[in-house]
Structure formats: C-alpha cells, structure tokens
Amino acid sequence: MAAAIVTRHLTKLYAPGKGVEGLDLTVPEGSLFGFLGPNGAGKTTTIRLLLDFLRPQHGSCQIFGRDCQQEALATRQQIGFLPGEVRLPESMRVDEFLRYLEQVRKRPFDPTWERTIAEALELDTRACIRTLSKGNKQKVGLLQALAPRPRLLVLDEPTEGLDPLVQQVFYALLQSYREGGGTVFMSSHILSEVERLCDRVAILRDGRLVTTEQIEVLRRRKVRHLELEFAADVDLAQFVAQLPGATLMSAHGRSVRLAVTDGGEAIVRALASAPIADFSFAPASLEEAFLDFYRSAP
C-alpha cells in the first residue's frame, strides 16, 4: 500500500526534548492513523512541519510522495486540516467562511457533501461565527476540513469541545470519509476514541517516537488488573512466579493486586490450584497500555 505520510529523521527542536527529534513515521494511504502523546510530546510540531508552518532542522517529510517544504502548495492541495485550537474569523458567517476557503483553494466544494456534513453535525451555516458556542465552532472547523474532500485529513485533537452525541456523528463521518478512500492522521488525548477509530497508532514521548503499532497489537499489550482474596495464607512470591507477565502491585494480608499483561490460560490454571476466596479481573483499557508504554519506554 502506498504511503500518505512519510517522515525521515524529522527534527525540529526548540530546546532539548521540546519539539520532535529523528522522527521516522509512515502512514499508509487509506488508514486511520492515531498520533498519541502527552502535552509537549511533539504532536503539534509534527503537524506544523507537515503543513510547512515550521521548517525542519534535519530530515524530511513527504505527503503522497511530495516534499512538504519543497512542494508545499501541491501537498497542501491534498490536505484538510483542523488545528488544535479552533479560532475562526468572528466577523464572518459560516457559509461566508466556507466560500472564502473555497476561493483560496481555487476549487469548489461539493455542495451535496458539504450539506450532508453540516446536517449531520446539526450546524447552521447561515449563523454568524461570533454567535457560535465553542462546540459549534469546533463543528465549523471539522466541516471546513472535510468539505474539500481532501485525500488526507490532518486533525489535531478533533473532538475537543464536542458533546458525546456529536462525537458519535463525527466518528461516523470519519468512517464514511475513510471508506471513500481518504486517509486520516489524527492526534488525540482521548484513547477510547483512538481505540475505536484507528487501525494504527504512533506514540510519541519527549519528541521521540516510542512505537508505531497496529491497534490490535497494542491491545494485546494491555495491562489488566487482577485482584485476589486468598482463603488461606500462600507463598506470594511462588504464586506470582507461576503467572507469566504478572507483576505484584500491592498486598495487604490475604488481598493482593496484580498487573497482568498476558498468559490468560496459565492464570486460570494457577487460580484453580490456589485457595481463592474471591477475585476480580478488571477490564483492560488502551489507556493502561499507553501509560505502560510511557512508564517502560527508555
């Protein structure tokens, strides 16, 4: 599959650990790619480099095979962009803003597609932007990114400020866009959102890429919490040693709490042979895998 985004040794540092350093990333065309990392990890810097707002100190980035700096206009023709902080021209109406962007792009938007998105988001395009709430302004940002039907959507924290119902609509729009052949590159803090939408994720820490994984692989790395209440005293060290991928988190009397990453069958066998009074196996979340990555990454 062709690559929508390729970065090679991409570096833009404001200070040590601030910015991005040696970023090697490949986003396959047609994928929904999540870009994860805490605040200041370098997600927005990467997006700014892709859009040629910033110039790299080293390395390069390409979108659909074209260099983001040398052929900036050609690459931006392919992109729909939603910035992390949506600040719109307050004096315009929504439709005036869209027409302005259409003229700037020199390519008309498909009116049916534009209307479909606006209706799905329940956005009044005749409204003056000044009168819109934060959530509605975010909807305008999403609408202008999707309306030109770009080959690549670059979204920085796209659901910030959206209520849960509109988030669902947005997810449906993204799926529909992707089914039409589009590629999505989105940064997010909301891990459940990334888990639900994305098929690949890249995790960034202190400006460096920690890993790029398929979401399924990441799921398998999930940490689950196993809480046990023993009916009798047991040798805890020996018990934990029987459980592959288990770490003792805490122990109070006969109550123990374990972090478990794999070995479901071995766990069941070990539990069956132990004097268990009660147990609970908390559902795992991507968040824990993500945090685990952060804790364990060098």
Partner: protein, 265 residues
C-alpha cells in the same frame, strides 16, 4: 498573489476604508472652505504666531492657495486620517492574523506565503490610494468651486496627492515588514504611530533648527514637499524616488522575513 486574500482584505475593511475616505474628504473640504476667510486674516495670523513657527511658513506662504493647500496636506489631522489605513492594515495582516489565530486557515490551503504577503501589500497600496484620492479630490473640487486653485492647478494637486500616497505607502510597507516579524498587532500599531510621529517631528524641527538639518534625511517626511507640485514648480525626484525605494526595500525585507519565519500557528 492570492486574489481571494486580496479581495477579502479589502472587503473586510470596506467600512473602515469608506469611513476614512469620507472623513478625509470632509476634512479637506472644510479646509478649502475656510481658505477665503483665512486668507483675509493671513497677515494677522502670521503676526500672532511665534517666530519659530513663522519659519515654517517661509517656504510655503499661507495666504496663497498653493501654500495653504501645502499646509493642509501636512495638517496633523489630515496626516492621522491618511495614515490610519496603512498602519491598521499592516498590523491586522500577519501579526493580527497570528494573534487572532486565523492565519492557519489560509496557510493550510494551497496559498504560498508569497501569495498571502503580496495580497496584503497590494490591499495596503490600493486602499491608501482610495483614502488619499478622496482627500485630494475634495481639495481639488473645493478649490475649483471657490476659484482658489493653486498655481499648479489640478495637476499640481494630483502630483501632491501622489507624493502623499507614496509617503503613506512607504510607512505602510515598513509596518508590514514589522508585522512579518511579530505576533501582536498592537506592536505594529505602536511602531507605526511612533515612527510616523518621530519622522514628522524631525522634519518640522529641521525647518526651525539648523543642527537638525544634518540628520533630516532619515525622516521620510523630509521628502514630502507638496508645495513644489502645488505651485507648479518642478517636483524633486527624491519626493517620489525615496518613498518608492523605501517601500520596495521594506516589502522585500518583510516578504523574506515572512517566507523564512517559523510559524507556531
């Protein structure tokens, strides 16, 4: 150049431009209307003025239409109204858009920084032509209606207006270059007002105090001599060439700064 950005720049400023044009035309018409009564009292007015102010009138006698119009072109209110557009437009262009958070919408589309910068620069140049044109037209119509056309006639008024326009475009170009370097429109406004005021004060000072003449060349206003055109004399080439040259250099510098600038938008 991005035509869409250019059109939008002028469309968004239509009320400001219209208001400034009307205000300048109204003020210019008012000045020409008072000239006949002013001329009747000119000798008395001149006697009442302190000697150092009287020195300003030696080059352009105010009891003649060309002298009076030359003074009117340099009246502080006239200058303030004419300078409002280039300073405001330059400030709201790059620095203002970064401050308002709206620059990313345009630069994320296939518009180059050169296209954006040139569109904003052209909006300053053409917008200022409208404002100065309105003021000069009011001078011309008012003088003609009252039968007080300067010796240089309508051509003289037109040439003086072109001199004024070039001067204000030069100041707007410098402000746009400053705008390309900063993130806050307020800094551009402060710079524009301060620079213009300092330049004009130096020019006036040089006419009254000989030691200041050694450095008056650094003042853009020193090259603004509307009396020559209004009196029908040959206009000095520096009156056109210096502001034009300053505009070109400032725009090139601003364009390069904006092209190379890291934009955290």
């Amino acid at each position: 150049m991005s035509l869409a950005v250019f059109r939008r720049s002028l469309f968004e400023a239509r009320w400001i431009l219209g208001g400034l044009g009307l205000a300048l035309a109204g003020f210019s018409a008012l000045l020409t209307a008072i000239f006949p009564s002013f001329r009747a009292q000119a000798a008395l007015v001149e006697r009442l003025l302190p000697s150092f102010v009287r020195m300003l009138l030696t080059a352009a006698p105010i009891d003649r239409p060309e002298g009076f119009l030359s003074w009117a072109f340099q009246h502080p209110v006239w200058l303030a109204l004419a300078l409002a557009w280039p300073i405001a437009a330059a400030g709201s262009a790059i620095a203002g858009e970064i401050e308002r958070g709206t620059l990313a919408w345009v630069l994320a589309t296939p518009v180059s920084r050169t296209g954006y910068f040139s569109a904003r620069a052209l909006a300053i140049v053409l917008g200022e032509a409208l404002v100065v044109g309105a003021g000069a037209a009011a001078f011309g119509i008012g003088s003609w209606r009252l039968g007080d056309l300067p010796a240089g006639g309508g051509r003289g008024i037109l040439l003086a207006a072109v001199e004024a326009w070039l001067l204000f475009v030069a100041i707007g170009s410098i402000c746009l270059a400053v705008s390309a370097l900063t993130r806050e429109a307020g800094r551009v406004y402060a710079f524009g007002i301060g620079f213009s005021a300092a330049s004009q004060i130096l020019s006036l000072l040089a006419q009254m105090w000989a030691p200041a003449r050694a450095i008056v060349g650094i003042s853009l206003f020193a090259y603004f001599r509307p009396f020559d055109a209004l009196a029908g004399h040959a206009v000095r080439a520096t009156s056109f060439c210096v502001p034009l040259g300053v505009s070109v250099v400032a725009l090139l510098a601003g364009w390069q700064a904006f092209k190379r600038r890291a934009l955290a938008i």
